[in-house]
Amino acid sequence: MAALVVLLLALCFSGGLYAVFAPTSKAEADTTAQSLAIEEGKKLYSVGCASCHGTGGQGTTDGPSLVGVGAASVDFQVGTGRMPAATSQGPQVPKKKNIYTQAEIDQLAAYIASLGAGPSIPTKDQYSPEGADIAKGGELFRTNCAQCHNFTGKGGALTHGKYAPTLEGVSEKHIYEAMQTGPQNMPSFPDTTLSEKNKKDIIAYLDAVNSEKTESPGGLELGGLGPVSEGLFGWVFGLGGLIAVAVWVAARTAKAKKS
C-alpha cells in the first residue's frame, strides 16, 4: 500500500496538474471520451513508440508487434519506465524513471488496446491485497515465481545477462500486470491458470515479506540473498572481527619507555 501511495505521489509530481484527474477519467468509459483517448494515444504513440514498433503497432525488426498485447501491458511497460527503451540496450530493457503521466499512459493504452483485444488495466479491486490469503500466496509464489525472483522477490539471474528484477518497491498494480501480460522474457500467468484470487494472494504475500514494513526479526537481512551474503558477512565481520580481537589479545603491551 505504502509503495502505491509513494508511486502515485511521484506520478503526480512528475506529471503535472492534470494527472490528478486521470483516475476518474478512465472510469467513465463513454465512447466519445474513449475515441478521444485513442486519438491522443495515437499521437503519443507516433512520437514515442512508432520508430521501433511500426506506425500501426505491427512491429519492426527493432520492436515486437503490439497488436493484442492489451492495455495492461502498456500500463506496465510505460508505467515502470521500461518503454520507451533506449536505442542500444543490453540483454534486457531495464526499469527506469517513467516519463509519461498516468493520463498519457492511459491514452497510449487505449490506442494499443484498440489495435487488438488484450488484457485491460486491472482495477484496484483486482490487485488490492485486502482479504487475501498470505500463506496461500506464499505457496503460489514459491511454485510460480521464486524460481526466478528468489524466495521473497529479491531477484535473480537468467541466461546471458538477463535477469528477473527485484520486486521491491514495485506497485501492486504493476505486479498484477506483469503476471497477467508476461513482460519481456517473463512468462505470463493468465487468469485461466493463475486466477484473480491467486494473483491477489501473491501480491498480499509480497506485501508481507518484501515491503518497507516487512519485519526481519533476526536482524540485518543481508540482502535476503541466502548463504552467499551470509558467508561473506560471517567471514568479514565474524571472523574478521575475531581476528581483530586476537591481534589485540596477542599484541605486546606498550613499554614504559616508549610511552
Partner: protein, 357 residues
C-alpha cells in the same frame, strides 16, 4: 620412497653461520666475526604498570569496570527476557524492523561475555608478569635404549603368545574378526528398499488429467496461452496425501504453449497438443525443480546449477552440467476437452543413474 639416502650434510645447517646456542646473554654490539649471530633474548622492558603504581591502579580499575559492566549486562539480559514480549518488533537503524527481544538478548549477552573476556585479557596484559620465559624442548623420538627395550619387550610378548607358531589359532582368529563386522553391515539392509524400477515410474498414466497446481482444476487447452507458464500434477494427487512429496518429486510437470511452427523437434510436436508441451519439471542434472522459463527464447534455466534446456527443440541441453534432455510427457485431450496424459514418461525423470541406460 625413503629418504635415507640423503646424507645429513646435504641438509641445511640449522642456523646461520656462527650461531650461538646459549640464548640469554644479550649481545649488544654487532659481533664482527659472526654478524648474524643470535644475540639471545632481548632484556625485559618494564611496562608503565610495572613501575608506576598509579598506572597499575588504573588498570585494576579498568578491569574491575569491565567485570562490573558484564554483571550489569547479565542483569539486563534477564530483565529483557522477562520484560520484552517475544513478538515485539522495533525499528532500529540500519538493521530494520527487528525483534526487540532478539536484539536485546543478543546485545546484553554479547556485552556480558565480551566484557569478561576483555577484563581478563586486559588484566593479563597490564598486570600479570610479562617476562618472556624460554622453555627447553626435548626431542620427541625416544632414546635408542628405550627403543631397544620396547622392541625386546614386544618380541618377548609376541613369543609368549605363541601366535606365530600356532598358525591355526592365528588364522581362525583373523577369520572370526573379519567376519563379525558383517553382522553390522547386514543390519543396515533395512535402511531402505532396493531400487527396483522405482526410479522409472511416475504417477502419470494413460488418461490421467493434467491438474493445475495453482487452482487444483484440470486444464483445458484454451487455458494455456502462448507465452504462459503453468505447473501441473496428475489428477488425484493431493497435498494432504501421505506420499505427496515422493510422488510430486517425480510427477511435477511444466506446461508451456509454443506456436507449432516454432517447434523444431518432430517428436516434440507429435507429443504436444496444438503446441502445448508438457515437460518434466525435475532437472535431469541433480533434480532441482527447473522452471526459469524465458518465454521469448523458450529456454528454461535451472536455478541450482544453470543447466539450460531449449523447450522448442525437444528440451535438449544447450548449457550447463545436465547430461540429457528433459523427459517429455505425451499429452492429448479427452472427450470432455481436458488435457490428459497419454501414458507415463518414456524414460526415468530426474537425475541420471547407473542403471538408467
Amino acid at each position: 620412497m625413503s629418504s635415507q639416502d640423503i646424507p645429513e650434510e646435504n641438509l641445511p645447517a640449522e642456523q646461520s653461520a656462527g650461531h650461538d646456542e646459549h640464548g640469554h646473554g644479550a649481545v649488544s654490539v654487532a659481533d664482527e666475526k659472526h654478524p648474524f649471530a643470535d644475540p639471545g633474548l632481548p632484556p625485559h622492558e618494564h611496562r608503565i604498570q610495572d613501575i608506576d603504581e598509579r598506572a597499575a591502579k588504573r588498570s585494576e580499575r579498568s578491569v574491575a569496570l569491565m567485570f562490573t559492566v558484564s554483571m550489569l549486562a547479565t542483569i539486563g539480559f534477564i530483565a529483557a527476557f522477562v520484560a520484552i514480549p517475544v513478538d515485539k518488533s522495533v525499528y532500529i537503524f540500519p538493521l530494520g524492523h527487528i525483534s526487540a527481544l532478539n536484539f536485546a538478548l543478543g546485545m546484553t549477552l554479547g556485552i556480558a561475555l565480551f566484557c569478561i573476556g576483555a577484563g581478563a585479557v586486559h588484566w593479563s596484559r597490564t598486570l600479570m608478569s610479562d617476562v618472556e620465559i624460554a622453555d627447553e624442548r626435548h626431542p620427541i623420538e625416544a632414546e635408542p635404549e628405550v627403543r631397544e627395550k620396547v622392541f625386546a619387550d614386544f618380541k618377548q610378548g609376541a613369543k609368549e603368545s605363541a601366535l606365530g607358531r600356532r598358525k591355526l589359532i592365528r588364522n581362525t582368529m583373523l577369520g572370526a574378526l573379519t567376519l563379525v563386522p558383517l553382522s553390522g553391515v547386514v543390519l543396515l539392509r533395512d535402511l531402505g528398499p532396493l531400487p527396483g524400477t522405482k526410479l522409472r515410474h511416475t504417477l502419470w498414466s494413460k488418461g490421467k488429467l493434467l491438474v493445475n497446481m495453482n487452482t487444483n482444476q484440470p486444464l483445458r487447452p484454451s487455458d494455456v496461452a502462448v507465452g504462459s507458464l503453468t505447473f501441473a500434477k496428475p489428477e488425484g494427487l493431493e497435498e494432504h496425501d501421505h506420499d505427496f512429496q515422493n510422488e510430486i518429486a517425480k510427477a511435477a510437470l511444466m506446461i508451456v504453449r509454443i506456436q507449432p511452427e516454432n517447434i523444431k523437434d518432430k517428436r516434440e510436436l507429435e507429443w504436444s497438443h496444438e503446441g502445448i508441451v508438457a515437460y518434466s519439471k525435475i532437472c535431469t542434472h541433480v533434480g532441482c525443480p527447473i522452471s526459469l522459463y524465458e518465454q521469448q527464447t523458450h529456454h528454461v534455466l535451472c536455478p541450482c546449477h544453470q543447466s539450460t534446456f531449449d523447450l522448442s527443440d525437444g528440451a535438449r541441453v544447450i548449457f550447463g552440467p545436465a547430461g540429457h534432455a528433459l523427459p517429455q510427457l505425451r499429452i492429448g485431450v479427452n472427450d470432455e476437452g481436458y488435457l490428459e496424459a497419454l501414458g507415463d514418461f518414456e524414460e526415468p525423470v530426474g537425475p541420471a543413474f547407473w542403471e538408467r541406460g
